[in-house]
Symmetry: C2
């Protein structure tokens, strides 16, 4: 546990050559004669020499990692996103450090500061709602791509889902089945995404000339248990909804549970975000599939372009905003007609 790792010096001394020669062998430079190369390689293997990336990066002036800052890796959405970031980054030989914010602005900031200290090459960030002017300090040092949440400050590359449009379509899907009283569950002012989805909900109702009933879109239940209670409340009234739109997959779990408890298979449901077993439930749950894997892959590709990995492309240029499509997966629950 306490052995010092061998360095170029150790290998050089053992092989009887200079450190530069060892460096050349390790880096596959052509400037070394074959037999010497073989000899050095032999010593490298024997001593289990592993290059020190820290020193390398210090010399190079830039690290070999990219950072991912998200709410929590325990959320399947961010896990899938991060997984995609990793595979994409790995293709270019970059490692991934991640940090979670817990959706707390101060933690976001301190995590990003840690990343900066680590000399990350670039950053993929799912921003917490709040003031992000401090980010400007860092963007001079490394590119930042925002994901999932559109962001009040312009000038950053962004990869998002068309929350508003996709929700509008989803609500339209329900309206087409005759629903007029559609609840919006999973609303949480803290998340710009659910706010955008609420906007889409309003869009669709307005377009159909249906007045908005605030009681159908209660506040503050992005999480499973709160959503569950909300559904109990909504369906406990005489004038309850005939359809529910759940604004995020965590909330959907609660919604499904409540509907099940209440034995209400007559209530239509569309979930924003897919979840395990959605296809298994009775009725199977119709979802807007937001494809976190794709978001992560696209964001990382954009980051790599800014880093100049994609040769020939501009590494500087105006910020781009990519909108990843979100498909409606009709499984049954969203196709329930309104009772006559």
């Amino acid at each position: 546990m306490n052995d010092r790792r061998p360095t170029l010096h150790d290998v050089a001394a053992e092989a009887g050559v200079s450190i530069k020669t060892v460096s050349r062998v390790v880096n596959g430079s052509e400037q070394v004669s074959p037999d010497l190369r073989l000899h050095v390689q032999d010593v490298v293997d024997r001593l289990n020499y592993v290059p020190n990336t820290l020193a390398r990066s210090l010399k190079a002036g830039t690290g070999d990692t990219i950072g991912v800052v998200i709410d929590t890796i325990a959320d399947p959405f961010f896990a899938a996103l991060t997984s995609a970031v990793e595979s994409t980054a790995l293709e270019s030989g970059l490692n991934v450090v991640f940090g979670s914010t817990g959706y707390v602005p101060e933690r976001e900031r301190s995590q990003i500061e840690r990343m900066a200290m680590q000399q990350v090459r670039g950053l993929v960030l799912a921003p917490v709602l709040g003031n992000h002017e401090y980010l400007a300090r860092f963007r001079g040092s490394f590119p930042i791509v925002l994901v999932d949440r559109s962001f009040e400050i312009d000038g950053y590359d962004t990869v998002v889902v068309d929350d508003r449009g996709a929700t509008r379509d989803a609500i339209g899907h329900l309206l087409a089945r005759g629903h007029r009283r559609i609840a919006f569950v999973g609303r949480d002012e803290r998340f710009p995404t659910t706010s955008d989805r609420l906007d889409g909900y309003h869009d669709a109702l307005h377009a159909a000339g249906i007045p908005v009933d605030p009681l159908l879109a209660p506040r503050g239940q992005a999480e499973e248990d709160a959503a569950e209670r909300a559904v109990h409340d909504l369906l406990g009234t005489d004038d309850g909804p005939t359809a529910i739109f759940s604004a995020n997959p965590r909330a959907s779990l609660g919604v499904v549970h409540a509907l099940h408890e209440l034995r209400r298979t007559d209530v239509a449901l569309v979930s924003f975000g897919d979840f395990p077993l959605a296809r298994t439930l009775e009725p199977a749950v119709t979802c807007v599939d937001q494809d976190p894997h794709r978001i992560g892959a696209v964001a990382t590709t954009q980051l790599l372009r800014r880093l100049g990995f994609d040769e020939g492309r501009d590494r500087i240029g105006p910020a781009e905003r990519v909108v990843v499509p979100a498909a409606l997966i009709a499984r049954g629950s969203g196709e329930i007609e309104v009772p006559r």
Copy 2:
């Protein structure tokens, strides 16, 4: 994007002091007079100086990150585990790099090699089945804690669930309800965990004097779709099982789906590993809860001890093996009595 980040030199020049003084201010050394400290701090803030961890670590001879190497971060089990590693590591000021193996031995090895190059302080590893002698090279440089999978080579700290014992108990639970034909689904020779669980299954059957029917434990279906097909096959026979034990949560999703399709609410089910909506299904699914969060937390704590963070504790000592308890959560599906 291309501004050079300010260094101690820049700050020193701007403040008209030596780099050492700036270093002292940044590191909160007491050896600086108050007014000078204030002045320097001012310049630090103005220039947005951020210390370079790479250089710091190079000087210190050891990095400030710990590595996590797992199958894939997209698996909820590993996501939860990694999340726990992060929170625990963060308390000691350590960052987390992760790498996924895809359960491919070569990728495991190359990921660990990357980690070594990055001078990770320590490693949490969910090992892929295979020869791990190469690990010995690295353990000289940093401590390694194995998680989830017991491992053929001794000498490493390990944090696992008592797969065999927990499964034995789970099968006992079913036997107590009168079941005699219990299927084992989700078996996969590649995973030592499911092999151990199979052993536990055999243990319980032997203890009850029930002959093992190989047809009830078919091979090769750790994944959702394969498990689904296996259940269809098992229940398609005259002499099918009256209870199913599903050896991992991914398989459980397939099992649940198949049972649902077949409308077999009479078949008892216990799942190794909890999953979302398990409590919602009808009947709700009885699970062995393996608590990945706890595994990650315990593993990281052990790692920190080896690193000497937990002052006063031995940082060297014999390898320890921690067995995290797995509780049976009775929800209904596991309590279905055998039909008379």
